[in-house]
């Protein structure tokens, strides 16, 4: 181990020289690492956001029960008392259509005030009860019971949405792992070919190193560092691309998603940068290891 640090300067110089000597393959390798990590990064960001959306919705695990638009307030209240008697319902909170319109007005831009005026003239919203539960796992049961009450027009149950989101998250997880494996395999293959070229162009040198008593690890390290550098440079560039790209679409995305919060650049930068660096270096080292095994008989 001490040998690595004592000779680190030599290994790094040799590694850099090796990369510069085959600049075309070096660029190709870095390019493929960047492409792989950027594609993977997009999936990761997508997955992280879906996951965070799931968590946000889980926190507000409520059931909304909507009454017909034209139902009288008395009838609505009668249904409300039935709702609060359902098992596992902690509280049935009424939001009248006027209150809901008010909320809606507060949520939208001033320049759309015109729309509001038309809405106020003929309020299309419905009175709604929001049920909070004593046990969120019973949401489906409660929703079914609420739907059976006569006069109830619609029941929305976020539980279904959470399930959908969980399954999307899962799919994304699987797809990204497979994608990562495939992209990593391609990257490793290309990197190992780049390093193989370096080995061939230096085979005379390597031979002499063997004869004068260089240890096997001494011969291997410059190539391992070559691979690590390819991966690290690729990781650095793709981190910049992904973080820059994410920051620039963040605003539009947040606007589109309304009151569901999208992860800030700062929330994901650590995962992306550390993850990319580790993966990049790992891929690079794997590429080196592959050509060392195949071509460097030491």
């Amino acid at each position: 181990m001490a040998m690595i640090f004592r000779n680190l300067k030599y290994f790094v110089t040799q590694g850099v020289k090796g990369l510069l000597a085959n600049s075309l393959m070096t660029l190709a390798s870095i390019g493929i690492v960047i492409a792989s990590l950027v594609i993977f990064g997009i999936f990761v960001l997508f997955g992280l956001n879906i996951n965070s959306i799931g968590n946000q919705i889980k926190d507000q695990c409520e059931i909304n029960v909507y009454m017909p638009n034209d139902m009288s307030r008395d009838n609505v209240r009668a249904i409300g008392s039935q709702l609060s008697e359902i098992n596992y319902v902690k509280e049935a909170q009424l939001y009248t259509k006027e209150e809901r319109l008010q909320n809606y007005k507060e949520g939208i831009h001033q320049d759309q005030a015109e729309v509001i005026t038309t809405l106020e003239e003929d309020n299309p919203l419905r009175d709604a009860y929001v049920l909070s539960l004593t046990d969120v796992r019973k949401a489906n049961e409660v929703a079914a019971a609420a739907a059976k009450i006569k006069g109830v027009e619609e029941v929305t149950n976020r539980q279904d949405l959470i399930k959908t989101i969980l399954s999307i998250t899962n799919t994304i997880k699987h797809v990204s792992i497979w994608l990562l494996l495939i992209l990593a395999a391609i990257s490793i293959f290309i990197i190992s070919n780049t390093i193989k070229l370096g080995m061939f162009s230096r085979r005379k040198e390597i031979n002499i190193m063997k004869f004068v008593g260089a240890t096997n690890w001494f011969i291997r390290w410059p190539f391992i560092i070559e691979g690590m550098l390819l991966g690290a440079v690729g990781a650095a560039i793709s981190s910049v691309i992904v973080m820059f790209g994410y920051s620039s679409i963040l605003g539009t995305l947040q606007e589109f998603m309304g009151n569901i919060r999208i992860l800030e650049a700062g929330d994901v930068s650590n995962i992306i940068i550390i993850g990319f660096t580790l993966m990049g270096i790992g891929i690079g080292m794997a590429g080196s290891a592959m050509s060392i095994r195949k071509h460097l008989h030491v």
Partner: protein, 229 residues
Amino acid sequence: MIEFKNVSKTYEDTGVRALDNVSFFIDKGEFVFLVGPSGAGKSTLTKLLIKEETPNSGEIIVNGFDLNSLAKNKVPYLRRSIGMVFQDFRLLPNKTVYENVAFAMQVIGASRSEIRRSVPNVLSLVGLAHKARMKPSQLSGGEQQRVSLARALVNKPPVIIADEPTGNLDPDTANEIMQLLCEINKRGTTMIVATHAKNFVDEMHKRVLAIENGILVRDEEEGVYGYDI
């Protein structure tokens, strides 16, 4: 100290029996000529010494390393104890004379200060101090041979093996190289020289090991070449 005990080597691919039951002992500080017709097995013998090839049977002990039981990852340490001078020099064309010699120290992890101290010394020993900055292509054959020798010497190995060190050289240059090998041997380094150079072997009265068809046929204290060229 080098010992061969009943060493045989057959190359698998060609089936050639390059060495057949060879035994000898070389003490520390000796000067030994290895002679024999082309294809006799001289280079094979030197390759066995640095474990570039392994014998089919027999024991080889070099500088305290038992080569049969020597682990693969210990081979570099065996090689550090032997300086090899190749007939074809094996210099790196894109490095200067200085860098070619320094390279041998660098790759065994020598420090910069050690390198700066040793390389000029060994270059002046072989008479090349003034050509340190030249590339091998700018040197004569004899000068390249001396760079190769300097590289073998620089880590101060107890044993030097030179495989036909005068093979490509004119008589004067060959003479220079041979004198240099003698000089280095006098400083205590064991010297093994495989050669076809009849005149040197006959004049220098050193120990001679003669191999024919893989068989050690002669081992004389102050021997002669013994073949017509």
